[in-house]
Amino acid sequence: MTDVGRHPKITLHTLSEVVDVKGYVGNFHVNILKRARYVDEKECTACGDCATVCPVVRPDEFNLGLSSRRAIFTPFPQAVPSSYVINVNECLGHNPVVCAKCIEACDKDCIDFHMSDKEIVEDVGSIVVATGLEVYDPTELDEYAYARFENVLTSLEFERLINAGGPTEGEVLRPTDLQRPRSVGFVQCVGSRSAKKGGTYCSNVCCMNTIKSTLMLKEHYPDIDIKVFYIDIRAFGKGFEDLYMRSRRSGVHYLRALPGTVEEDPDKGLKVSIENTATGKLETHQLDMLVLALGIKPASSTQRLQEMLGLQLTPDGFFLEAHPKLLPVDAATRGVFYAGCAEGPKDIKESVTQASAAAARAIRLMHRGEITTEPITSMVVEEHCKSCGKCAEVCPYNAIKVDVKRKTPAVVNTAACAGCGTCAAECPFGAIIMNHFTDEQILNQVHALLEQTPKEKILAFACNWCSYAGADYAGVSRLQYPPNVRLIRTMCSGRVDEKFIWDGFLKGAPVILVSGCHIGDCHYIDANHWTEKRIKKIHKKMSKLGIRPERLQLEWISAAEGVRFAKVMQRMEVLREGVTLEEIAETIEILKG
């Protein structure tokens, strides 16, 4: 941390909040609101004279309220920059002179009540999102009685108690009587792996954190009685099982069961009821202290940042990587990377690994001063553009700018364009050309595939990343599916223009399939939402025109769903058999008219 503070090429903005991000890879403009510190961070030597005279006493957030701090304080001894800060909402102030004791105490005159918040704009090429995590609040899990009994602690509170730099200098004491507990229990999965309270996912770090805590306790006090209540101990990392074994060998009891109730004795001891899986018996354990191993949840700022940067979230609320295996630190938006728990629960080692990878990915992207993009980008034909703004609305990457009021033609930023083609499909005036997937190219394919005996053909549009790959998978798996399927590949199902469908039916297609990635899995953030909307619209039009809407199908097929691909095609074949030559002729008549 100190190294970062000292590095000549790293600017550290503390007390700062990102307000807005504009631009694209290589050219991000980041608006930052830097809050006033009221202490000159360059001059302050962190001598602490100001804090000794400050009359305002508040709970110390870093020690989770187990100790106190003043209104002028440093969050923790190693904080960077090594400078004090005033919490302006707590400070008594100086105007009219109420207090201002710190100003008198400061020999270096670095306290300035006239400082104000600043807005800063930084131009950067790439962004690493490392916004961290929050912990689960166990108050709602009333069976563990965190809010009712003082001797029930969270894992974070316990960590501060056993830390040599903590409020008790590493001495573990019960909050009620400040005596050393003779027995300590740990409850695992508090707010993790729960369908109702907390996250449904495993928080990844709590098992090892508890194991570490038990070992530290045993080192401090060899005679202490420790019980760990768990469902599964997940000691999956390098050296983790070793640590778990050491803990068990040192005499820590691991009991497979979660407590049903926690009750308090008159002497403030705790009675924890479990049914032990090993014995099949109900047991009541008498403990002096109970520690709840809290789960991890996404930082509350996640959603705002997601909107600002156009990122995606997993259902858990953590940031979604561009690919779970092959691009684990990249965001779907080019030039944005993830590090640490912002992307998902992880321990220190994994966070450091991911942060190093994110830094390397960013350097790799930036060092040349220019980037290579796929040639599959969209292009605006200015003379056809009516500046309606539809393209800019559907672009998942905000790569298109249109001034609807001034009626200037749309402009595509090719560095930001990822090539899904949704804009070209949505443009009502045919003013957007999707390079390598032009209307002409696709329509020619439609015509060629339906040139002979169209009644026998199944016309299918498949997106490059999921459905086309699914077809491929069906092929390599040697799955049987009707041989009369004719596939047209587009980068995204969002590229499938309404006119491709009408043209297909006009050329005598009995049935048409549009297929893409499952909702939420789209490789172009959310472009397939527009596919869904468009198909619904076409279905309505078909009903109005008197064409059976069932003849146009929409299916989501992933790259791994070869079997599903084959099944969908078999279903399409059944549908096709139900379409008569008369019906096709009638459709053609309707569409011609």
Partner: protein, 154 residues
């Protein structure tokens, strides 16, 4: 502890339950929060929600429905409230009771109560003796029969 003969199990029982109220029991990861929360389990070891769920997953349908223990649940909902996997344990117990009645496995006491409710609309039927006592205490008389119940069960 006896052994469980898995060949006796009905493999379709779990599938049969899946669509029913509280039937999503596959989510159970045997943390035993339910047992440790249950006021009945604390005094009567015959009743053990985690064990009943396990038996159901093994397909021991007959054994469950013929048992006396499913009738011990007081439907206090402590287990259902605390189950981290969202298994609707109390609803499941109620469903098992309904199944047991349908298959004719209800214990005699429960059957006698059912008969009373169906016939009289009350578990404790009121007669003239009760009304005399009520009269003495200055309370209004209660109807001795309940015809509405017949419409209800038609």
């Amino acid at each position: 502890m006896g052994t469980i003969d898995l060949d006796q199990g009905d493999p379709d029982f779990v599938k049969e339950l899946a669509g029913q109220s509280g039937g999503q029991i596959r989510a159970c990861f045997t943390c035993r929060t339910c047992v440790a929360s249950c006021p009945i389990s604390a005094i009567n070891r015959e009743f053990n929600p985690a064990k009943i769920i396990r038996m159901a997953l093994y397909g021991l349908k007959e054994e469950i429905l013929k048992s006396a223990f499913i009738w011990l649940c007081t439907t206090c909902y402590a287990c259902q409230e605390r189950c981290p996997q969202g298994v609707s344990i109390t609803d499941f117990m109620t469903h098992l009771k309904n199944m047991a009645i349908k298959e004719g496995h209800a214990p005699p006491g429960i059957r006698a109560q059912l008969k009373l409710v169906k016939g009289e609309g009350r578990i404790y039927p009121i007669d003239d003796f009760d009304n005399k006592k009520r009269n003495k205490a200055g309370l209004p008389p209660l109807p001795t029969s309940c015809d509405a119940i017949k419409e209800l069960f038609l």
